[in-house]
């Protein structure tokens, strides 16, 4: 670990000396405790926090930061769950409810493929009537039309819904999805692993244990997945940390998480009386996530959620991925995100370079497609 030589010098500059023993544990590759996490979150030494996370990020991923060119397809906004924090879901009869036909999905995919998209990111509501076969058909038709484009589809929440409506086991659902063309799974629907919060915000949604279990089943089947945390609403710092530790333990037990994505909550157009996260909270959360989740390879600063500016700065606070030139994102934008719908590749490369890292265009599994030296 070449980073070690510089570590000594870095520790000398820590103003918050309580962080030094934690940093030493991090650089020895050991897990941090819940209490360590609290000390990290409560520290005002933003620079120490950032450099610890940055050093760990470089130990894991070298000087690289990634992006991907992908197309989000949200097949429907009809959803039986009606989570309180969601500004995307609609009920049958709502004027702006929509459901895409297979043809419409294929048309969006076709346009995106022509732009060189490497990945379809497919996430939607829990449709009240669509049968399991419809979800299968979406995958099958997409794969048939675009065999070389990676399909990252369906959160654990959708998978659980499919198991319920089909009467199949989680494992059987995942096997069938994979056979139809699913290559990996996104990390949404995790929210916060806390019964208190789920009762208050999303009582109908997949439980914490079921969410983790679905991902572990996927991992055991060889399906890579991502994981997330929705923060900045009614949760406490302690609940965030317990969430991170549960993810770390799941990864320990059945490895397969590729990336962790901290999702900053956008309160606009939702009934939750939160005010949106601050820049410092965003960066601390990125840094603490990197430090707590030493066994998950990538930390994503999702620019759609954070905004281009904070996402870029996050690359110096332990993040190593900006996600991508997302074509048409609806879920966060319905909740008031001000970020544009897409960032050109040129801009992503520039942002990464100016943050002092080497841009790498990746595929969905973090294979390098091109290094921008």
């Amino acid at each position: 670990m070449g980073a070690f030589a510089e570590v000594e010098g870095v520790l000398d500059h820590f103003e918050d000396k309580a962080l030094i023993p934690i940093a030493e544990r991090v650089f020895e590759g050991r897990s941090l405790s819940f209490e360590d996490g609290l000390i990290l979150y409560r520290s005002r030494d933003l620079f120490a926090l950032g450099s610890m996370a940055d050093i760990l990020s470089r130990m894991i991923n070298g000087p690289y930061a990634y992006f991907v060119v992908n197309r989000h397809i949200n097949p429907t906004n009809l959803c039986v769950n009606q989570c309180r924090f969601c500004a995307f879901c609609r009920r049958r009869g709502d004027e702006d409810a929509y459901e895409l036909s297979i043809e419409e999905i294929l048309q969006k995919a076709q346009e995106a493929a022509a732009l060189g998209v490497r990945e379809f990111h497919i996430v939607g509501g829990l449709h009240p009537e669509w049968p399991f076969e419809y979800y299968i058909e979406i995958l099958r038709e997409l794969k048939k039309a675009h065999p070389r484009v990676h399909i990252k589809a369906y959160t654990a929440v959708e998978v659980e819904h499919m198991a319920r409506i089909s009467g199949l086991s989680i494992e059987e659902v995942l096997i069938q999805l994979r056979e139809a063309g699913l290559d990996s799974m996104p990390g949404g629907g995790a929210e916060v692993f806390s019964q208190r919060i789920r009762d208050a915000l999303c009582p109908k949604k997949t439980s914490s244990q079921d969410w983790l279990n679905i991902h572990m089943v996927a991992h055991r089947l060889g399906i890579k997945t991502n994981c997330t945390l929705l923060y900045g609403h009614i949760e406490t710092i302690e609940e965030r940390l317990r969430h991170l530790i549960l993810l770390r333990e799941a990864q320990e037990e059945a490895p397969g998480f590729l990336a962790f994505i901290p999702l900053a909550f956008h309160p606009e157009n939702t009934p939750i009386p939160a005010r949106g996260t601050s820049g410092i909270d965003d960066l601390k959360t990125v840094a603490v996530s990197r430090l707590m989740l030493h066994n998950i390879p990538h930390i994503k600063a999702y620019w759609v959620m954070l905004g281009e500016k904070t996402a870029q700065v996050a690359l110096t606070f332990g993040a190593d991925d900006l996600e991508g030139t997302v074509v048409e994102e609806k879920i966060t934008h319905m909740a008031g995100a001000l970020s544009p719908q897409a960032l050109p590749k040129r801009r992503l490369v520039h942002l990464i370079r100016r943050a002092g890292k080497i841009p790498v265009e990746r595929d969905a599994l973090y294979n390098c497609l091109r290094v921008y030296h």
């Binding site: 500059h13 005010r275 601050s278 820049g279 410092i280 960066l283 281009e308 904070t310 520039h350 943050a355």
Partner: protein, 342 residues
């Protein structure tokens, strides 16, 4: 802390962002050990967008005959001032284009009629405007500033500096007051007892050397006069300008230049975060990268808004943002005297 030279400052452009931030944070703490972050409640009043300067980086100016050209009538300016006072404002920032017809009489009348009606601080007329007014009126700079001050001008905003490097200025704003002219206006004003701010607009065609040249000119003048209250760096907003093709400066670039400014300008007491160009999140972070002031609530802002900056913050949001960062928010007046803390 020892003053750094130009060479050393140039090397900071390659330094790790967080180490640089820590240095700037230290420099700021030496000057402001009290943990306060100040802000001002005021309003930008742009009395005209008619401008003969036609700078290629600006999306605000119009020609005199243009359908969107305006010169605000006095009653409208008064109305804006009344709204400002009702919102707890202590100051107005009066700035506008270089109008082809307005001479000193217009401004003397405007300022004295404001002062006779309202107890408000007039922060007005950037150096290019003062230079232009002097020339239009056939007056020396000294007489111009003396008369404006007598009519009610209280302090001068540091706009129109862009980058104080002749090379850059020649390309960006050839019709605008020169580097020496800008500095001469400020030096004269300071000598006549008017405080001012200084700004820097970067992220266009300048290089690191030009930025350091700018900082050095400000620092040298400040050594002589002590008249600058604050330094305000902000990033060029390319939309709708003649330089729309330029890659917009990133947040990391902004934080870097902000930190370098704080470190280099050891004699300028305050450094402002620019939430107008950076948004609340990066402006909050800027408090760790050298800034100790959150600028103004800007009840109204038109110039960078014309170039695509869409950020908006209310007074309460500013207070919250400062508190969340671990500092004590304080409302100040235009001369950086604290009025109340929150």
């Amino acid at each position: 802390m020892e003053r750094i030279g130009e060479e050393e400052a140039l090397a900071l452009f390659d330094e790790d962002l967080l180490s640089l931030g820590r240095r700037a944070y230290e420099a700021r703490r030496v000057l402001h050990p009290d943990n306060l972050v100040t802000f001002c409640v005021d309003r930008n009043i742009n009395y005209t967008n008619i401008c003969i300067s036609r700078c290629c980086f600006c999306a605000f100016w119009r020609d005199k005959g243009d359908s969107e050209a305006f010169l605000l009538p006095k009653v409208e300016i008064f109305k804006k001032i009344e709204e400002t006072i009702n919102l707890g404002g202590t100051s107005i920032l009066i700035q506008g284009g270089l109008h082809p017809d307005l001479e000193i009489g217009y401004f003397e009348d405007l300022f004295s009629s404001i002062k006779s009606r309202y107890p408000i601080h007039i922060h007005g007329l950037s150096p290019p405007e003062i230079w232009h007014i002097a020339r239009k009126s056939g007056l020396t700079l000294e007489d111009t500033i003396r008369r404006l001050k007598a009519a009610g001008l209280d302090s001068i905003p540091g706009g129109g500096a862009e980058i104080l490097s002749p090379r850059v200025r020649q390309r960006l704003s050839p019709n605008k007051v020169s580097v020496e002219g800008w500095l001469e206006v400020m030096e004269t004003a300071h000598r006549l007892g008017l405080k001012s701010t200084a700004t820097m607009m970067f992220g266009h065609i300048e290089g690191p050397g030009d930025i350091i040249e700018h900082l050095d000119r400000i620092r040298s003048l400040q050594d002589r006069t002590g008249g600058f209250t604050a330094f305000i760096p902000w990033t060029f907003q390319p939309l709708h300008t003649g330089l729309a093709h330029i890659e917009k400066a990133t947040a990391v670039d902004y934080l870097r230049v902000l930190a370098i400014s704080r470190i280099y300008l050891d004699n300028v007491p305050n450094v402002q975060a620019s939430w107008v160009t950076q948004g609340a999140k990066i402006a909050q972070l800027a408090l760790y990268f050298g800034a100790n002031d959150f600028g103004s609530t800007m009840i109204e802002e038109n110039v960078v808004a014309a170039a695509g900056a869409t950020f908006r913050m209310s007074r309460d949001e500013i207070i919250r943002c400062i508190k969340d960062a671990g500092f004590t928010p304080a409302q100040r007046d235009t001369l950086y005297r604290v009025i109340r803390t929150f």
